[in-house]
């Protein structure tokens, strides 16, 4: 059993560099996060409308200039607002969006904890 757990830990530690796999398709990842403004609810990646293609070209150029994702997103939101990003940034106006679920979760855990006893005999 102990050997087994050790193997598991070694196995998991080896995963440290695995996140490189994620960024391999960085371009598609960025396109997926951008709303095609000329289409109904589609991402840039899903659309081949003229606007989407032009915007892709602009983004590709920025990628070739070694701009970071953040720089690209800042460029776009300055021009088109947060509306263009599918992944809403964490800021003052989106605090509730990101943290209200966490609040619900904490309340849930608290209620469950309050109501739980270890043995049946302890139920009054």
């Amino acid at each position: 059993m102990k050997n087994f757990l050790f193997l598991l830990i070694v196995f998991l530690l080896n995963q440290q560099n695995s996140f490189a796999l994620f960024s391999q398709d960085r371009e598609i990842k960025i396109y997926k996060n951008i709303r095609c403004l000329a289409c109904q609810g589609q991402s840039l990646n899903d659309s081949n409308s003229d606007f989407a293609n032009d915007l892709k070209k602009v983004i590709k150029e920025k990628l070739n200039n070694n701009e970071t994702d953040q720089e690209i997103y800042t460029y776009l939101t300055a021009r088109y607002g947060d509306w263009i990003l599918f992944d809403p940034p964490v800021k003052k106006s989106t605090l509730l969006l990101w943290f209200f679920p966490v609040f619900i979760l904490v309340i849930g855990i608290f209620i469950l904890y309050k109501r739980t006893v270890f043995e049946k005999s302890k139920l009054s």
């Binding site: 598609i28 947060d82 599918f86 809403p88 679920p101 270890f118 049946k120």
Partner: protein, 631 residues
Amino acid sequence: MTSNIGFVSIVISCILSLFIIILFFKHVLFGGPLHSKFFALYKASFFLIAASFVLLVISFIISDFSIVAVYENSHTDKPFFYKFAGTWGNHEGSMLLFILIISLYGYLFLLFSKQLNFPLRFTTIFFQTSLQFAFLLFLIFTSNPFEKIFPIPNQGLGLNPILQDPLLVLHPPFLYLGYVGFSLVFSLLLGGLICNYYNQSWAAIAKRWIFLPWTFLTFGIGLGSFWAYYELGWGGYWFWDPVENASLMPWIASTALIHSVLVMDKTKKLYNWTAILTILTFVLSLFGTFLVRSGILNSVHAFANDPERGLYILFIISLITFSALVIYILKSPKQTEGESGFVLFSREFSIAANNYLLIFALTVVTIGTTYPILLSVFTGESISVGPQYYNTILAPFVFIFLIVMAIGPYMKWSKNSFAVSKNKLIAFLISSLIVTILASLLLKNQNFIFILGVLCSLYLIISVLYEFAYFKNIKLKQFNFPRVFSHAGFGFLILAITLHYFFSKEFTAKIPLGESVTYKEFVIKFSNYFSKEDKNYQELTGEYEIQKNGEKIVLKPSIRRYSQPQQFTSETSIRGEWLSDMYIAMDYTSDTSDGIGIRFYHNYSIRLIWLSYILIAIGGLLSFMRRKNEQ
């Protein structure tokens, strides 16, 4: 002519509903026996609604363009199938279907509840009638499906081509049979509270009326997901689009409800919680209808937008929710301390834990869907909430959820049963770990999230399969087939989603005729194209040769230009290999000088996702049939 009869029967049904409501109040306020024809009147109101629906269907089939709804959404060139389905492909028709289903559930309840407590029965019917009445008024005053047009046009405007698909015949009715179906358990709850009959035996009755719509809703969502996959041509199965979310919200709430009503049935606990979930499920169903029908959302599913209708639905929702909560507060059952506590590692503990996780997921989906609307009302800012948000927040909890789902069934009711099942649970862990490590090495992916996803879903699947393998030891009748199917289905679903997420490949390109592009192990050549003309569209089909590791297949996606109304659709071409799909969709373009745009997807294990939907829904179906046998 048909339109007159149709409209008159709706109006009569509405008057009958009002009459039923009056009879109920007369009985409750002034005493005396309930009118002997109370139930017969309800049945009459149902048949009238059904008759008007049939008339509307006939009007669509014979293309009676004197009716606005038919004129705007049909065309004589349309195949018979779509004339038929066109009935609910528009706002008015789908609202009539909505009411028909409310009424149908009331009618079914009357048929199958003869042995029930009489006051519970008629009070439930009263509430169902009130719902029906409110929506009938809505239909008559804001969206009359039989509204006439003069002079009568010779030809209709046609149905949106995206909706001209065999699955559309099934998708909306299933969805409605699902979430509108929760109206019955909602009425049953209010009836139970009013008649002081909200107790353990209420739970036993209510179960069936939760399982039935839940099964339909699961099928409906699955069909919608499948439809989006091959008809919209975006290559995915779920987009976290607001309209999809609108149907997911009642699904999550009702899944929590299914489990809490079981606890109530077995252990007399969670009375208040079950009541709240029942109200929540139905209110979320209505809220979903409001979001979709009012045009308040920015969605791919663009429906006609009419704020006045939205206002009326909003008013109905507020009224229904408010009265339900008032009744609940006045009549809610008092619980003692002992009834509300859970023993750690007992069955009801694990169900309660997963209930909280479901509520968490529900909060995430609801907030994500409504936050952009709320923010723009309060600050005028517009933001988008897309898949990234939901994936980030929900993913970690899905893993915990799977583990609890696996452990729960090995726990006994009201007893700390960790010690008893410890060995089994550890054995599951070890076996799922071994399979996960093998899978990780074999598929050459060592991403942490990937491993966690595979491990947790395998843990659930193995725990269910173990139960299945050893079911000989118990009687077939006692074996919980429904749970086994649904839980295994959910395990496979998360496994498939994980595999799909990590191994699918996609790219977009513009390929000129005769040229080819290479992407990873795929070489795609645009080899040929041809065009043809059909009854209601022109079609341009492309021929693409795909080479993968020496194998060659040909896919033939196409673009259609529909004439009535003028619109383009992209018909995907899909070739399956085992559980995965090769998928190409063409883009419509006016300028073909630098080639035609295509989107290529290699959707890994996508067929496992469809399979899981089916497994989950079968579980629901089995539980409905099983409960029926028990009674």
